[in-house]
Amino acid sequence: MDLFLQQILNGIMLGSTYAVVALGLTLVFGILHIPNFAHGHLYMLGGYVTFFFITLLGFGFWTAMISSMIILALIGILVERVVYRPLRDQPHINSFISAIGALMFLETFVVVAWGPQGQRIPNPYPNPVEIGGIILTQQRLLVIIAAIVLIVLLQLFLKKTTPGTTIEAVAQNREGAMLVGINVNRVSSMTFAISTATAAAAASLVAPIFMISPSMGALLGMKAFVIVILGGLGSVPGAIFGGYILGLIEALGGGYISADYKDVFAFGALILILAIRPTGLFGREEVG
């Protein structure tokens, strides 16, 4: 029973970060109508920027994380401008190729700057806490809480504020948005900034638990796609639930069967769910 609860908690922790990363991906998908293939690599870069601020500039954990979010927001805006916007009216395949160029650049850049080996961010909160007989480090608890706070804030932003509503408006009808006076380019920049900043937050939160490495972006990016497809492309609740579902599948599969196969369970679940529901769990039929 303890093993079960322990794995559930691990799953929720993993799922929290997955949900945050997938949310950013799904928001950008809504705007671009293509997936941002470089999303996982921007997440990876976010982890490294936090690492840089902590180890080289001696920032505290939270200051480093917030600085990393700001830097990644700016990089996100740049990526949208340079990688995606010039190709907006071109066939989608051009954007894919451009994105692959961007992700190769990001990975190589990190290898050159920090080397190919993994790095560890010192854990700011290593002390264990006990909840109902289950022991976990404060940092793990923190990941869960911080991720949930981010998700709730993002939801409130999208649903309750005018700039948030413009993101939904552009995603639902680009021409309609232009005609009511929304600057679609500015909304694209804003969406990218939010998406990459939240990815940086997720990477920074888990960096003290797992190692950061230049190749971690590729696997996480792939998983974020799984989640977004699982939840239904462009769906915000789908990204959140998909994130937690994938986290739980990995933790339970990894805990009970074999940790080596945890990614197999994740991608196996994708194939299974899509076979049953091709539009994803929360995918909606076209309306209006």
Partner: protein, 236 residues
């Protein structure tokens, strides 16, 4: 107020609008007639800045619109209620209207007044303000699209085929409201229609567009008796 001089718009290598010149004065209510594919929608999209003219000059209140993006043109007080309505299907009716007022988002009092005005024109929008726009019927969506365009408090409203695909009774209702927008609210209205009968009954004058060119212009009361118009659009 709106002046087009020799405007040509090329879409997919084909000039869908050719050498169009026209002028609309403040307070006028003008029809643009033409069959399917005549270039009405292309002309409206060009004026609203969704498409760029390849030749010619578009002026609104003396300001040249040619190189302005669509969102800046709305800010000048020219609003297009587009073909196909282009609503935000997963947003509520209320949020659609609020997005319509995006250009004046800090004028809370003014927005409230416009909202009441729109609710008065279309009471159904008030009754169903929390319903998702995508679940509306065609007629209701058209009302919402017109309401959304009015929320920017435009000096001039371009209406692209508001009657398309609607039942005759609904068309009548929408025609009444458009007339109201022109006569009571004093908004300058440019109305594109295939339904020439409806359009000529309510407008002051009209243009006839064929193959992207203006072939006829005159007061609505004369166009309605014009042999060409009768043959082509009134089924007589």
């Amino acid at each position: 107020m709106l002046k087009l001089t020799n405007v040509t718009t090329v879409v997919g290598g084909f000039p869908a609008v050719r050498d169009v010149s026209l002028e609309i004065k403040k307070g006028e209510f003008v029809a643009l007639l033409g069959s399917n594919g005549a270039g009405k929608t292309t002309l409206f999209r060009t004026i609203a800045g969704v498409l760029k003219p390849s030749k010619g000059v578009i002026e609104f209140n003396g300001k040249q619109l040619n190189n302005l993006p669509a969102h800046k043109i709305v800010m000048l007080g020219l609003s297009l209620c587009p073909e196909g309505r282009q609503l935000f299907p997963h947003l509520s009716v209320y949020k659609n209207l609020m997005m319509g007022a995006y250009t004046r988002r800090n004028d809370h009092k003014g927005i409230q007044l416009s909202l009441e005005q729109v609710y008065e024109l279309f009471p159904i929008l008030k009754e169903r303000k929390n319903q998702l726009a995508g679940t509306f019927s065609g007629g209701q969506q058209q009302m919402l699209a017109i309401g959304r365009a009015l929320m920017s408090k435009p000096d001039m409203l371009l209406l692209d085929e508001p009657s398309i695909g609607l039942a005759p009774l609904v068309v009548q209702k929408i025609a009444d409201v458009i007339k109201n927008i022109s006569k009571e609210m004093g908004t300058t209205v440019f109305l594109s229609e295939q339904n020439a009968n409806m359009a000529l009954m309510i407008t002051d004058r009209g243009y006839v567009l064929e193959n992207g060119k203006i072939v006829l212009a005159g007061p609505s009361s004369e166009l309605i008796y014009n042999e060409t118009v009768k043959k082509a659009y009134l089924g007589a």
